[in-house]
């Protein structure tokens, strides 16, 4: 633009008139502050729709748990709470490293941020690996719903159908959660590269911040899934 904008006229000394463009400032924003606020707010709206997305299946889960309490309890006994407990710790630790990565980016600590992102990725992949191991065990026991479901509850045969329903919810809920983790892991790989390259600093850290919001949200889903799927009395 050849002419100075009205904004420049009203705020001499601001923005492009005197300071060169920040390389990551997009053209339709006035300044990095506006860009930061837009992207974090956008991520919060995204998280809001994720809450309703997972909320829908939590509602369906609750309906059937109220309908079939005994089958739910029987189904949960096929979960190894020790593995779930260990995995919960792994995931919460990854949330800590993610939070520290944001903290590092805010302070322009390039190596620290990158290290924390790598640790987050490592812990996330550990979680996925453990989950895959659990899935393999369940499938082995014939607990995968549908035609592969060969399990019969010998003590209470009438619960078999309910256990299948429980396992169905188990697989859908943890599966969608794992899918979100995998997407997050893909993003992390990209962010590790960007962080190492030195893209982030005191003025421009919003990508790491919104990555963090996403990762923490996925963590929160698990915080509810763990007691609801592993710890039914």
């Amino acid at each position: 633009m050849a002419n100075p904008t009205l904004h420049d006229l009203q705020h001499p000394g601001s923005e492009e008139a005197h300071v060169p463009h920040h390389p990551f400032l997009q053209h339709h924003f006035e300044d990095l502050g506006q860009q930061h606020e837009a992207s974090t707010l956008g991520m919060w709206f995204f998280v809001a729709q994720e809450i309703l997305f997972f909320g829908g299946i939590f509602a369906a889960y609750t309906v059937y748990r109220v309908m079939y309490p005994a089958a739910w309890s029987a189904g949960a006994h096929h979960q190894n709470w020790r593995i779930g407990f260990a995995n919960t710790i792994v995931l919460i630790a990854s949330s800590l490293t993610m939070a520290l990565a944001v903290w590092g980016a805010q302070g322009a600590k390039r190596k620290f941020t990158t290290l924390m992102l790598v640790l987050t990725l490592f812990l996330g992949m550990t979680f996925i690996g453990v989950k895959a191991f659990e899935y393999r065990e369940h499938i082995h026991e014939g607990l995968f719903p549908g035609s592969a479901f060969t399990y019969v509850d010998h003590e209470h045969p009438e619960l078999t159908r309910g256990v299948e329903l429980f396992m169905l919810f188990y697989f859908i809920m943890t599966g969608l959660h794992a899918l979100h983790m995998i997407i997050g892991a893909g993003l992390l790989i990209w962010f590790i590269r960007r962080s190492w390259r030195g893209d982030f600093g005191e003025e421009y850290y919003s990508p790491v911040e919104i990555m963090g919001l996403y990762w923490h949200f996925v963590d929160i889903v698990w915080i509810f899934l763990f007691p609801l799927l592993y710890l039914i009395h």
């Binding site: 009203q10 707010l41 997305f53 309906v63 329903l165 169905l168």
Partner: protein, 553 residues
């Protein structure tokens, strides 16, 4: 190259540079397919939703032809099942929901805010591609043999018994949902964070308020549909019993979750229509909208209350009678904010010198038809009457009065109102008025008989019917013919006007609003200078005074 006349812009200096605009800024197919300009994306959407509207319209016309006679003579009952299913899916998911937000909202909203673009231009383009991917599943299903579940995909028929393409079409609806989520997200952030200096919340045009309410509904309802369709697809693939009572599931849960989205989806369709109506009423009465704040907050009230009424679709599905009473009461409450809007628009028109251009004709049509649709909605909210007319043509007529008489009327009003801004050309006024008349007459002739025939007991979704219903059905089909002519006319003359229409100039209506302060078509960055807003929305008294002074001074 088209040139635009730069004339009576009241507060923006004419640009000294060549009159380049968003249409001639770049050339080539790729410059459209990879564009991040919200205006070009709006044009892409306009073309795509028009195609889907034609597909859905042709299917509707085939149904009306079948219903001309009581016997099922044109199609078998199976084919007819597929026709009404595809008509519903195409019209709702691929036309009505994206139509006004993604076309008019995309184009006008950032300009109304004085912004250069939406907050996330790449996501905006992405949402069009997602929409097209979802839409191509719809087209694929139509070509390969259709789907026969009804647009609601009720279980367990859709998961266990139907042998049509249920999976593909639900996947298409699931994918398209993300397109509208991303559009809603983009609008919300843009409204919050991209307003021009001085543009406070109560200076916003009511279009923006309504789009805001729409986006809230999209963001909070669509994900629940997404998870519901995931459950449906899982059940259909694995043959397990989430919703199948034979396998321990509860089919009513599917209906609860489906309508938690799909009732608010009605407000996703009608709120943007109300957005357009508010703009047109102000522009063609040259007055401030009566009770601005009431109209603004009634949009938010509709957005919230619209979430509390869904189970009125389940009154005969076996839900608890106590729950049904609560939902019946709440469904009547939601009529209040809608009525507030109607009263305020009419109060604005009271003792105004109204100019009867085409958009205003559509507005009048909207107000009348929406009121009929709304009042019959109250009938249906009442438990006893709903049990009587449930799944009859009375229901069909009711929701067509809202969706066609409301949303499509408003969409046509908006298209005509902003056509000069979008293309830089005027549409031919005489032809446009004729088409508005045809649409109004054709619409009423199509759907009013359906109220009558439904009330005396003709059920929906059958290709054959008892002979005593024939007279009213013939009237309805005759109306559909007129309606089709009314819809075809604009497609022809709007296309014609692209080349032969009169040049529009910056502000052909003499309307206030930021979109009328920039040239037609707008430049790529919308404004040559970021505008500073010092006036309230629809400040016609001040605007007209300023105009007079400019002319005399």
């Amino acid at each position: 190259m088209t040139t635009t006349t730069i004339d009576d812009a009241p507060f923006i200096e004419p640009s000294a540079t060549a009159p380049r605009n968003y249409l001639n800024d770049e050339y080539g197919v790729l410059s459209w397919l990879l564009t991040r300009d919200h205006k070009r994306i709006a044009v892409l959407y306009a073309i795509s939703v028009t195609v889907f509207f034609m597909v859905g319209g042709i299917i509707a016309f085939m149904m009306r032809l079948e219903l001309l006679t009581p016997e099922g003579d044109l199609f078998t009952s199976d084919t007819y099942n597929k026709l009404f299913t595809l008509h519903g899916i195409v019209m709702i998911f691929f036309f009505l929901i994206p139509a006004i937000p993604a076309v008019l909202g995309n184009f006008i909203l950032p300009i109304m805010l004085g912004a250069k673009d939406l907050a996330f231009p790449k996501i905006n383009l992405l949402s069009w591609y997602i929409y097209m991917i979802g839409g191509s599943f719809g087209i694929y299903v139509i070509i390969t043999g259709g789907v026969d579940t009804g647009w609601t995909f009720y279980t367990p028929f859709s998961t266990q018994y139907s042998n049509t393409h249920v999976f593909a079409v639900t996947l298409g609806a699931f994918i398209t949902g993300f397109s509208s989520i991303l559009t809603g997200l983009n609008f919300l952030v843009t409204i919050h964070r991209m307003r021009a200096p001085g543009l406070t919340w109560f200076r916003l045009p009511l279009f923006v308020w309504s789009m805001y309410a729409t986006s809230v509904v999209i963001m909070l309802a669509t994900p629940v549909l997404a998870i519901t369709l995931v459950l449906l697809m899982v059940e259909r693939t694995l043959h397990v019993g989430i919703f199948d009572p034979a396998l321990g599931g509860d089919p009513v849960l599917y209906q609860h979750m489906f309508w938690f989205y799909s009732h608010p989806a009605v407000y996703i369709m009608i709120l943007p229509g109300m957005a357009v109506i508010s703009e047109c009423v102000a522009a063609f009465t040259r007055k401030k909208i009566f009770g601005y704040k009431f109209v603004a907050f009634s949009s938010l009230a509709i957005a919230f209350l619209g979430f509390l009424v869904w189970a009125h679709h389940l009154f005969v599905a076996g839900i608890s009678i106590y729950s049904a009473m609560v939902f019946s009461f709440l469904s009547m409450i939601v009529a209040v904010p809608s009525a507030i809007k109607v009263f305020n628009w009419t109060a604005t028109m009271y003792r105004a010198s109204v100019s009867w251009q085409t958009p205003m004709l559509y507005v009048l049509g909207f107000i009348g038809l929406f009121t009929i649709g709304g009042v019959t909605g109250l009938f249906l909210a009442a438990l006893g009457i709903d049990v009587h007319v449930h799944d009859s043509y009375f229901v069909v007529a009711h929701f067509h009065y809202i969706m066609v008489g409301g949303t499509i009327m408003a969409y046509l009003a908006g298209i005509h109102y902003w056509w000069p801004k979008i293309t830089g050309r005027m549409y031919p006024e005489w032809w446009a008025r004729l088409s508005a008349l045809l649409v109004f007459v054709g619409f009423n002739l199509t759907f009013f008989p359906q109220f009558l025939v439904g009330y005396v007991g003709m059920p929906r979704r059958y290709h054959a019917y008892a002979p005593e219903f024939q007279v009213l059905n013939v009237l309805s089909t005759a109306g559909a013919t007129i309606l089709a002519a009314g819809y075809l006319l604009p497609m022809i003359y709007l296309f014609w006007s692209l080349k032969f229409g009169r040049k529009a100039g910056t502000n052909p209506w003499g309307a206030v609003g930021l979109e009328w302060a920039t040239s037609s078509p707008p430049p790529k960055e919308n404004f040559h200078e970021t505008p500073v807003v010092t006036w309230e929305a629809y400040d016609y008294p001040a605007f007209l005074k300023a105009m007079r002074e400019t002319q005399h001074g």
